[in-house]
Symmetry: C2
Subunit: 311 residues, 2 copies
């Protein structure tokens, strides 16, 4: 990672997760959308984290994030407990999820305050927190050049007007297929994407899990395959890791132009595939640049019309 | 379509379908897997149909097939009623289906007999009929060069040993994702494809409906996007039309080599997308070569890493 790569500012949740699958469990492991984004994105670019944790947040997690190039100046530590989330997964590929418990704890009163050095950052990722908090962050960034946001069904159900305000102020909306259909009332994804594009973003990305992701710009569609899975140990965080890989690669290569966006989608798929292979962020932090490039080559070959292997 | 394109022999069902959606119905329209395959494939190559109908089979259907270059020498007409199938679809994109009635009628005692001229045909499609009937056809073909088969869940449940015999004798297995998982007991599609490849075919194609199709050869994977849908009027026959587009394009371009297979997958997606836009085979028979090539260009662009539009 060169010194010249521009940093990415991310706001979102840092949590301690407890995850159960039919065969395994992990207790109080590092979770939260911002954590996955940070560690995926940090493979490509310096990351500036804006989040809150309690006084129970393990020092080891903090050190691990810093060791990966994540700037924790904006990680507020408050008296009380860190955001806790617990869920169980089941189904043939662990595609079914039930949230067992959510304790907002210190996150309940979170109002993000950007350290001065973060306010000039040009690339921003608003992970799937409450839309009003996403807007609070955006209001503090002086002159952003590329802002992407994600969301979850909860905000479609409870904060749609806020979400619409966010969509009007970002360059890129990342959303999953069911949410895109629900938000727009359109049955088909191209029509749904075009409704979201009409709010103003120049890019809409619709995630479909193991069926890959679609990149919509006003007159083109790109299909990024999901990396072929051989195992799923914990599906948590795949979407946030996808966003980290995507924005990280854009920070490194520039966010203008269809070509870097398309290649960025593939980096997103790679980091998403790593996320699910172990609990928490374990597989992501173990990945080498060679691991990433090897998976990228597989994806490039999966969409090549060339008869010879494109490696 | 040049005279030099080699013919494709197809065996399968020709039926009269009654289809209900929440807003529309169609009664006694041309259906059956072989019908969809014939009319999709006939856009690329001469088709030889082996099937059975009753004495109630409308002459108009026969004329329409012949007008499209389908050789009906092998279409047996028997006293009695044509195979009838009835179903209803529902769900946001009509993805839910319930079969209401199946009357095998003359199909119940069908034993395909190939006209002498068909026995030398090099390219063969065994659509999703009973595996023993697929084998009866294969036994009558003298020296096939490329044989593809499809199947349905019913045969996994009731005729798995026969299906395994079929898989051992074909070059290409076409199957949907749930069937591939069920047949192999493998949760992940690459592992499932490799189990099927171990029976002997050199190509395994796993269909995922609106999520596209995957082409597996021993050491590569290709992802063919589904053509972006703007409407679904009747999902019946999409898989058979996919096979018709795929094999048709292979008949025209040669079935050797990864490049023609990959492009063939895209032609399959194009014909599958046409099939669902109207009841029965209506949209397929209305399609022009320009319609097909235009949709193909969309698909090529959807998987292009080039920043400029690849048209």
């Amino acid at each position: 990672m060169g010194q010249s790569v521009q940093p990415i500012l991310v706001v979102g949740s840092v949590a301690l997760d407890t995850v159960h699958t039919p065969t395994e469990s992990a207790m109080d492991v590092l979770g939260g959308g911002a954590s996955y984004f940070c560690l995926a994105g940090a493979m490509f670019a310096p990351i500036q984290l804006v989040a809150v944790v309690g006084d129970d947040f393990p020092e080891a997690n903090r050190r691990m994030l810093e060791a990966r190039g994540v700037d924790l100046t904006g990680l507020e530590a408050r008296p009380g407990k860190t955001f806790r989330w617990s869920a169980k997964y089941w189904g043939i590929r662990l595609e079914q999820r039930e949230t067992l418990d959510t304790q907002l704890n210190v996150f309940a009163d979170f109002h993000p305050v950007l350290p001065p050095a973060f306010r000039k950052t040009k690339m921003v990722f608003l992970s799937n927190i409450q839309p009003d908090l996403q807007l609070e962050v955006l209001d503090q960034v002086e002159n952003p050049e590329f802002v992407a946001c994600d969301t979850i069904k909860l905000w479609l159900d409870t904060a749609k007007p806020g979400l619409e305000r966010v969509f009007r102020r970002v360059d890129c909306v990342i959303i999953n297929d069911e949410e895109a259909v629900q938000f727009t009332g359109q049955r088909f994804l191209p029509a749904a994407a075009h409704v979201i594009l009409s709010y103003g973003p120049r890019v809409v990305i619709i995630k479909r899990g193991e069926n890959g992701s679609l990149l919509f710009t006003p007159d083109r569609i790109f299909l990024a395959p999901a990396h072929p899975l051989e195992t799923v140990r914990d599906p948590t965080g795949a979407g946030d890791a996808f966003a980290g890989g995507l924005l990280g690669s854009l920070a490194r290569s520039g966010h203008d132009g269809e070509q870097v966006l398309r290649r960025g989608m593939l980096y997103g798929s790679v980091l998403g595939s790593l996320a699910v292979e172990d609990f928490s962020v374990r597989r992501i932090v173990q990945a080498t640049d060679d691991d990433v490039e090897s998976r990228l080559s597989t994806l490039v070959d999966m969409i090549s019309l060339d008869g010879s292997r494109a490696r």
